[in-house]
Structure formats: C-alpha cells, structure tokens
C-alpha cells in the first residue's frame, strides 16, 4: 500500500455474529482514497453483512471502523449508501424527486425543510443519472434499472466522499449497467472512494481497480491486477472453509445438542 495515498476506510478486526453464529471473522483492511473497489465473494460470504457492519446497521462482536481517520459515528456525513433495491417498498407514496431529496436530509439536520437549493441539487443529481425527466414520476412506475438510478442519485445528493453500494448491478439491463459504471468512474475521477458489492466475476477486471475478496473472512485485498488472481479466487470460492462454518454452526446450536456431544466425547 503506497504511503502517499490517504486512507479513506479502515476496518480493523471486524467480527459479526448472527444468533451467536459468526458470519464474519476478524476482517481487516484499509482502502486508499480515490479507488473503485469491488467487494467479491460467493453467496453467503457476508458481503452485505460487511457493508451493514461498517455502517453500524448490524452490531459487531468486535472491531472498529474509521472513515478518514476518525470513527464512523463522527463521519457519517462523509459516507453515502446505496442499499439493495428490494430493501424498500416501491409502492410507497413518494415520487422520484422526493426520494433523491432524502439524500439531503443528513445535511439538513432535524427540523429544517429542504430548500430551493436542495431541490436544485437533487435535480442535478437526477440529471447525472439521466433521470431528470422522471422527477415527478411515482416510484412504483419505475423499471428495475430506473429504481437503481434513483437510489444512486439519492446517494449522490449526499455529497459523500466514500460510497458503499450493495449490488447496484443486480437485475438491471445492460444499458443501465454501462451508465452506472460510467457514473462510478466519474466519482473516482472526483477523488471519491466507492466500494461496490459485485457478483459478476467476468467484469471485475474491467470495472474495478481495487478488489476485496471475502468469504467469511478477508481472503485478499489490493489492486486488481495483483490481487484478482486464480490462486486468490480459488481460496475465495473453494471449499476449504467448510470446517470454519461447521465449527461456527456447532457453536450456535442450542445447549442440548452440545450436551449430547459432550456425552459422546467422554
């Protein structure tokens, strides 16, 4: 890791357990600023969980997260988030512009209403994702790709330095995927750091200049050309971790099962 680059995100020893069953083990990494970073790993590897743990949506059993050198809780303003599309009810009675304006709420603080400048900014963000014509459209009338663009525009409206995106390419058409990646490139050029949960191994080298390989724990992190190797991919997708998950499973079993095992052991 070169020293001249600033560290945008630093994660140390992050461990997350659901119902006492560990899903992420001691994850450590530091992301240099100004990169487009792919978070790669098989299903159930804990990719979304990692984002949620970084953003403090799920409690971590151990570890800490720093954004530009300070704890996440103090730096929320610097962080933008694009959740999975299915996480919300698209029948909700708001229009596209309303959703994008939500990105401004963090800057507004409590009690203040969005002003003209916020509206204009939100419109500019919609322009950036090519959705300006849809500003007054009810969100239930959008296609999957359009919904994704609206979420991106909302994140842009946050004016963050670091973006976390949970599968922005899931279920979108090819045209949307190209325009999203164009947008991400632009963010990178502006010096922002973007961490993207990504599934399609074919496009990793094309899209990302940095990668994190994850499978319950961090396998590798670094520039794509040296990190995205066959060896590392085998480690990430190979079955070497069955013992880890087996042990985690045994640990999370109710006491009876454990007592039974103890009995057999003796």
């Amino acid at each position: 890791m070169s020293l001249d680059k600033e560290i945008a995100v630093e994660v140390h020893d992050l461990t997350v357990a659901y119902h006492r069953r560990p899903v992420l083990w001691g994850v450590d990494f530091a992301l240099p600023a100004g990169h487009l970073i792919g978070l790669i790993g098989p299903n159930g590897a804990g990719k979304s969980t990692l984002l949620k743990a970084i953003l403090n949506m799920v409690p971590a059993a151990s570890g800490w997260v720093k954004i530009y050198g300070k704890p996440y809780a103090q730096q929320k303003r610097l962080v933008g988030y694009v959740p999975q599309r299915e996480s919300v009810d698209w029948d909700f009675p708001v229009n596209v512009l309303d959703v994008v304006l939500m990105g401004r709420y963090g800057h507004l603080g409590l009690l203040r209403r969005p002003r003209r400048a916020d509206y204009e900014f939100a419109m500019a963000c919609l322009e950036q994702v090519g959705m300006a014509n849809y500003a007054r459209r009810q969100i239930s009338q959008l296609s999957g790709g359009q919904q994704q663009r609206v979420f991106l525009a909302r994140a842009l409206a946050q004016e963050a330095l670091v973006y976390f995106m949970d599968e922005p390419f899931a279920g979108v058409d090819a045209a949307t995927e190209r325009s999203i990646i164009g947008l991400l490139e632009q963010l990178k050029k502006d010096g922002k750091t973007v961490l993207v949960v990504h599934h399609d191994l074919q496009t990793v080298q094309e899209y990302f200049d940095w990668v994190l390989l994850l499978n319950m724990r961090l396998i590798a992190a670094g520039p794509t050309e040296v990190t995205f190797t066959d060896e590392n991919l085998r480690k990430t997708y190979g079955g070497r971790l069955t013992i880890l998950s087996q042990a985690a499973h045994a640990f999370s079993q109710p006491a009876d099962a454990l007592v039974g095992r103890e009995g057999r052991e003796g």
């Binding site: 001691g26 450590d28 724990r217 480690k235 070497r240 095992r261």
Partner: protein, 444 residues
C-alpha cells in the same frame, strides 16, 4: 370452599360446560400450531371479529340463541372475510396486515350495527351481546355444549388424521405438491377448520379474545420443543388447562366473564414458558451462557496450567515437561481474571477432580497453590491440543493474521464437535503440521 367446588363439579350442566371448554382449548391449541407455522396467527383475530355479523344475521333469521345456527352464520362470515382479505391484497397494493385489520374492524362494525338493531327491536337483551363479546361459558346449556364438544372432537380427529399432510403444508409446501398432494385443497381445509374452531370458541371466550386461544398456547409450546409432534401435544395441553381454569374461576362465585379468565390462564402459561421453556426459554438461555462461560474459563485454566508446565520445564533445562504446583496469583495474572473469579473456576475444576489445591506451607504471601491431577493432566492435554489445532487451522488454512488467531480461538474451540477435531487432525497431518500436542503458534 372445597365443598362449593365439589357441588359445582357434580352439577351435570357444569360438567358438560367443563368438558366443552376443555375440548375447545385442546382443538384450538392444535389448530393454532398449524396457523402459527403457516404465519397466520392473526387470522384468528380476524375471524373471531368478523364472525359477529354472521352471528347477528343468523340470529335475525332464526330468532334463536342456540349454537348451531349461530355457528353456521359465524362460519359463513369467516369464509367471506378471508375471501375479502385475499381479494384486497391481490387486486390492490394494500399489504396483508392492513387488509386484515381493515376487514376485521369493518365486519365488526357491521356486526355491532346489526346487533344494536336486533337489541332495539326488542328480540334479545343486552346479555346476548355481552355473551358474544367476552364469552360466558356458564350460560351454555345441554345441547349447545354438545354441539361445541362434537365440533371440537371432529377438528381434533381431522388434525390427527391429516397430521402428515398438514406437517408437509407447514414446512415444505412445494415438496408436497411435487409428491402429487393437492396442497391448495389442504390449505383450504386447514383454513376452514380454523374458521370452525374460532366460531365454536366464540361462545366461551368471546369475539374480542378468541384469537388468544389460537395463538397463545401454540406460541407457549414453541418455547419447549423443536418437534412438531411435541409442540402439538403441549399446545393442546396448554389450551385445555386454560379452558378448564378459566371456566372454573368464572363459575366459582366470581361474576367475571369466562373469556378474559381463559385468556389470562393461557397468558400465564405463556409467561411461564417464556421464562422456563426447556428449549428457547429465557432462563435456559441465561444458564447456557453461564455454562459456556464456565466451561471456557475452566478449559482455559487447564490450558494455562499445562502451558506453565511446558515453559517451566524448558526453563529448568529438564527433559521438557514437569508437573508442579503453581501459585493462584500467577494464574490470575496469566488468565487476566480477578482473584475471586479464578477461585470459583478453581473450585469447579477441583470438583471435577482435575486439580488439587494446597496452602503454601510457611509463606503466607504465596497463597494457594494449584496442581493438576493425573486426570486433569489428561484433560488439559486434550484441551491444549484442540486449542492449537484450531489455531493452526485458522492461521494456515483460513489465513488469519497471527494477532487475531488467539482471540478468535477463544470461544468456538471449546465447542468443536469431535468430527471437526478429527477432520482438523487429518488435514493438518496431511500437511505435516500435526505434532501430538502441537506447539502453540503464538509466543506464550
């Protein structure tokens, strides 16, 4: 007091009423299990309330208060209301919970309008209305109770007869369809049975609280078992007991309605289950956590003693390993425990026969000395071995950083199932990393 109770129980009608509420509790408990597993717990609430207009119309048409026509009215209203919920959720963007609440209250409102209309036209007194709202089992007479009892028995028999199919419906509907069972028909049958179960319950528990008899026993049973068969038996028992207790208290001189009393009995059983439930109860969870903590501390104590023997053996330049007494104060420092906590752990390990405790002769500053017994040594060897196997696995196979290995190895390693330990040994052996007690990978 006992005499009064005996008098009550010898009364033929009272006996029938008790049998009725008992059977009612049993059948609702059984039905409730399947309703809960199909995630339809609140359907009981909906059905009980929506029965009211059905009951009112049946009464207006027949002008009798006997159970059978009212039951028919309630069942029809129940079926109409479930159809309404289905239509609303299918043909609009309204979600299920809103549709349920909406149908529930609107039907109930219509029922209230009809009943007040009936009451004003003079045919029935207010008592009739009240009976339906909160249930008054005591006012039931001969034939009515028999209708309820027969319906409850039929429901119970149906559940037993179709147990396999309902189980499939609750757990893996698609698989059942694959086997050529008509799951849709089965689902409809279950729904019909719930409607009937709720309708017969109205007499005893009333419209407002009938849903409880469906939900609460089943939810309580869940804290005791993971097996459907046991859950059904328990829920039936809880339902039956609640029915009896509520009815007896209601009959026994108090002027209270049966419904709330039955529900309170069921809720009491639920709270007991929540606390003491042998599978998911709170007490169980707390005890389990304490047990994990104790076991971890105990095994860590053994390992630390073992490691102390290893290092002192090296220090002395002997052939390696020497068993000798270690001061408790030294152990407390090495384990990072407070002296009191350590003393408790030591006491438990002593009870297992794993170590001996002796006072240091002469020197009061040294305090107590701890030494492993032979059994303790064997146990410590196993614990240490498992610990190091796990550490090596984490380091070499799972690529953990060295400074994370020890901490991560802390809790889970104590619960590694034997097959996992074997697998670990096999793998590490293959890679030539498997000494008898592998040396620790981090400096002690």
């Amino acid at each position: 007091m006992m005499e009064a109770l005996r008098d009550l129980l010898t009364d033929a009608n009272v006996r029938w009423v008790l049998i009725g509420t008992l059977l009612l509790g049993i059948s609702s408990g059984l039905l409730g299990c399947f309703a809960m597993l199909r995630r339809r717990s609140l359907m009981g609430d909906v059905l009980a309330h929506t029965a009211l207009p059905g009951v009112a119309v049946a009464f207006m048409l027949t002008q009798t208060k006997s159970v059978l026509p009212l039951l028919v009215g309630a069942v029809i209203a129940g079926l109409v209301s479930t159809a309404c919920v289905d239509v609303i959720t299918r043909y609009s963007r309204i979600k299920e919970d809103t549709a349920q609440g909406l149908v529930l209250t609107v039907f109930f409102g219509v029922g209230v309008v009809l009943l007040t209309h009936v009451a004003r036209t003079g045919a029935a007194g207010q008592s009739g209305l009240n009976r339906f709202l909160f249930g008054q089992a005591a006012s039931l007479i001969g034939n009515d109770v028999k209708v309820i009892a027969v319906a409850a028995v039929i429901l119970t028999v149906l559940i037993v007869a179709f147990f396999k199919e309902f189980k499939l419906l609750a757990f893996d509907r698609g698989f059942g369809e694959g086997m050529g069972i008509n799951m849709l028909a089965l689902d409809r049958l279950l729904m019909l049975m719930v409607v009937v179960g709720v309708s017969i319950g109205l007499q005893a528990v009333g419209v407002v609280l009938m849903s409880s008899l469906l939900v609460t026993p089943a939810a309580a049973a869940r804290y005791w078992t993971d097996r459907l068969e046991h859950m059904l038996l328990l829920a039936a028992a809880f339902g039956g007991v609640s029915g009896i207790v509520g009815t007896v208290v209601s009959l026994f001189g108090t002027r209270l309605a049966t419904g709330p009393l039955i529900v309170l009995a069921a809720t009491g059983l639920f709270v007991l289950s929540l606390i003491f439930g042998s599978r998911r109860g709170l007490l169980r969870k707390v005890l389990h956590q304490l047990r994990v903590r104790d076991r971890v501390a105990r095994e860590n104590l053994l390992r630390v003693l073992y490691e102390t023997y290893e290092t002192t053996g090296v220090d002395r330049g002997a052939e390696g390993f020497a068993r000798h007494p270690v001061p408790e104060t030294v152990l407390a420092v090495r384990m990072g425990l407070r002296p009191r906590t350590l003393r408790r752990v030591v006491r438990i390990a002593e009870r297992f026969g794993w170590l001996t405790v002796q006072r240091a002769a002469g020197d009061p500053n040294v305090g107590r000395l701890i030494m492993l017994t032979n059994e303790g040594l064997a146990e410590a060897q196993q614990v240490t071995r498992r610990h190091r196997l796990w550490e090596m696995y984490l380091m070499y196979e799972a690529d953990f950083a060295v400074d994370h290995v020890d901490r991560d190895a802390d809790d889970i390693e104590h619960y590694l199932p034997p097959d996992v330990v074997e697998e670990l040994e096999r793998r590490l052996q293959m890679e030539g990393r498997e000494p008898i007690v592998p040396p620790s990978v981090h400096p002690l």
